[in-house]
Amino acid sequence: MNAVALFLAGDGALMALAVLAVTIAPRPFAPVIIYGAALAISAALMIAAVVHLLGKTPIDRISLPLGLPWIGTRFRIDALSAFFLVIVNLGGSAASLYGLGDGGSERSLVSACCLFFRRSSSA
């Protein structure tokens, strides 16, 4: 599988997780599911980035027919991207694991979504 496709699939899964989080956020089990899945996806993406970096894999590209009509949406993974993808997904894994633990005690705070409702209702 093309490395870019793999990363885009991971990003798609994280985006689906965000949508799921909106629907299940008030449930007590929501943090376990969201942070647990984010941990799994970030860890998988980190491993893929390490493999790409150490394996000296050639540059992978993908172009999707989205965005500006005359160039589309282009993605590319080279060594520089792979190195920073390791940093991002390592940090993402660590933060997700922390969210699964006591760090989730901050989860009880009202979600930022409510900010908009509070603002619009007071306006």
Binding site: V4, F7, L8, G10, D11, L14, M15, L17, A18, V19, A21, A25, P31, I34, Y35, A37, A38, L45, L53, L54, K56, G67, L68, I71, G72, T73, R74, F75, D78, A79, L80, S81, A82, F83, F84, L85, I87, V88, N89, L90, G91, G92, A94, A95, S96, L97, Y98, G99, L100, G101, D102, G103, E106, R107, L109, V110, S111, A112, C113, L115
Partner: protein, 559 residues
Amino acid sequence: VLPFFPTFLVGMNLVLAADDAFTFLMSWEFMSIASWALVMAHHRDADNERVGYVYIVMASFGTLALLLAFGLLGGPAGSYAFDTMRAATPAAGVASLALLLALVGAGSKAGIAPLHVWLPLAHPAAPSHVSALMSGVMTKVAIYGFVRIAFELMGPTGWWWSIPVLITGAATALLGVVYALMQHDLKRLLAYHTVENIGIIFVGVGLALAFRAFDMPFAAALALTAGLLHALNHSLFKSLLFLGAGAVLSATGERDMDHLGGLIHPMPRTAFAFLVGCVAISALPPFNGFVSEWLTFQAILLTPVLPSWALKILAPAVGALLALSAALAAACFTKAFGITFLGRPRTHAAQRARETDRLTLAVMFALAALCLLAGVFPGVFIDALAPVVSAAVGGRMPAQAGAAWLSIVPIAESRSSYNGLLVFLFIAISASLAASGIHRFASDALRRAPPWDCGAPDPSPVTQYSAESFAQPIRRVFGGVAFIVRERLDLPAPGDIRPARFDLQLSDRIWDALYAPMVGLVERVSLSLNRLQFLTIRQYLSVVFGALVALLVVLASWP
């Protein structure tokens, strides 16, 4: 928090994979907005609304600068694909302006001075794992943006481009650590310290630009490796420290170090992991922070061979500032650990603290282990960076895998080398021998006695050395660099039994000199424009007619 956490991760991943300016900027904004929403998670706190406002304004300003940079690189044809930009060679003036805009755009997200003002507000305001992501990871995405533009999209660069990067990096490093030293909020101290580390990374990147311009690929590879390795190292120890601060916050509900103290007793494992992070960020061997800063200094030591006198004079000054900031960083983290974990608990919250949960400990120990591994076996990480560096500067550091005893050799063995494993073994063996010797020949009996002060029992733990006390000598010397300091001492006359009062006010010099006048100007302009909504219909028609005539005159007289 929950919906925005994965969204934030998506934004950062997409920025790194983007291969055209449109996708890059869209992903960049996605990352900024998701992180803004996470910063606003505690929006019921009155201060956080202002924090969120400052953050979103600065994030938009950074995106605007990047948009203009890509616009200049894309040229009149509007070729926003990175491949087209790589193939083109922009004129020197256009490229210089684009580099400056990239430095402002990416630098404002990374936290370079004087664009750092949002960072120490926003990073601590978020939940701790988000603070770790913002400080440890998002700032690296900004570094990526700058490296991608400066080393790849702009083509060959002039040597003078390195000068603003080096000056900004060195100034950022020093200001960041001076700001950090003055803080008594643990998370804000860590956020300010991110500013310092971003400065160190920019110094490495700036040196690489200078060496590359003079066609010195091996020296450029050393400097860029140092910068990128420090980016990785900083992401490790800063995440560890923010998660440690989060564990303290969860256990005590306190971020103010002057309300903590003595936490090493109820939270020994957290204290140990936090101590590892403190040692690593203070650039002490055998941890990873030392390796990347040592490599940066090795790159600075190569600058005398540069043909430019400006750089020959500037580089040692940059090195001196880095050395000073490294020493101040050690003082800063001695304070952070000492005031938070040592001494006696200053409040009931600190007294009632309990050790954090196993998952939090697991992630902190994993990060601490990575800090040690990257410090003891840095050669593995340097070799892994070789393809990244060679694509950017056309050269790489010597392969470290074959070096004797797992040493790292930046240039040649006769010149300098470092062996993290030997340093680690020496420290471990000598510390073990010293500990066993002390336990063998000294008494094992432990006696705890009530504290006393000036020969009398000390009734309050508040009289302990505080974060402010620790920073006072350094504030006296360096505080004026970053802050406007106002001290007021109210000392009653002899016989007057009023308590003496000491008031200290610190205000950010950059905020006062740069941002406050801008805010004032915008406010004045907004208030004067506000009158426009209270005009009569005749006045509105007159304004529209006047504007139409003025535009037609401009159009007619346009050459």
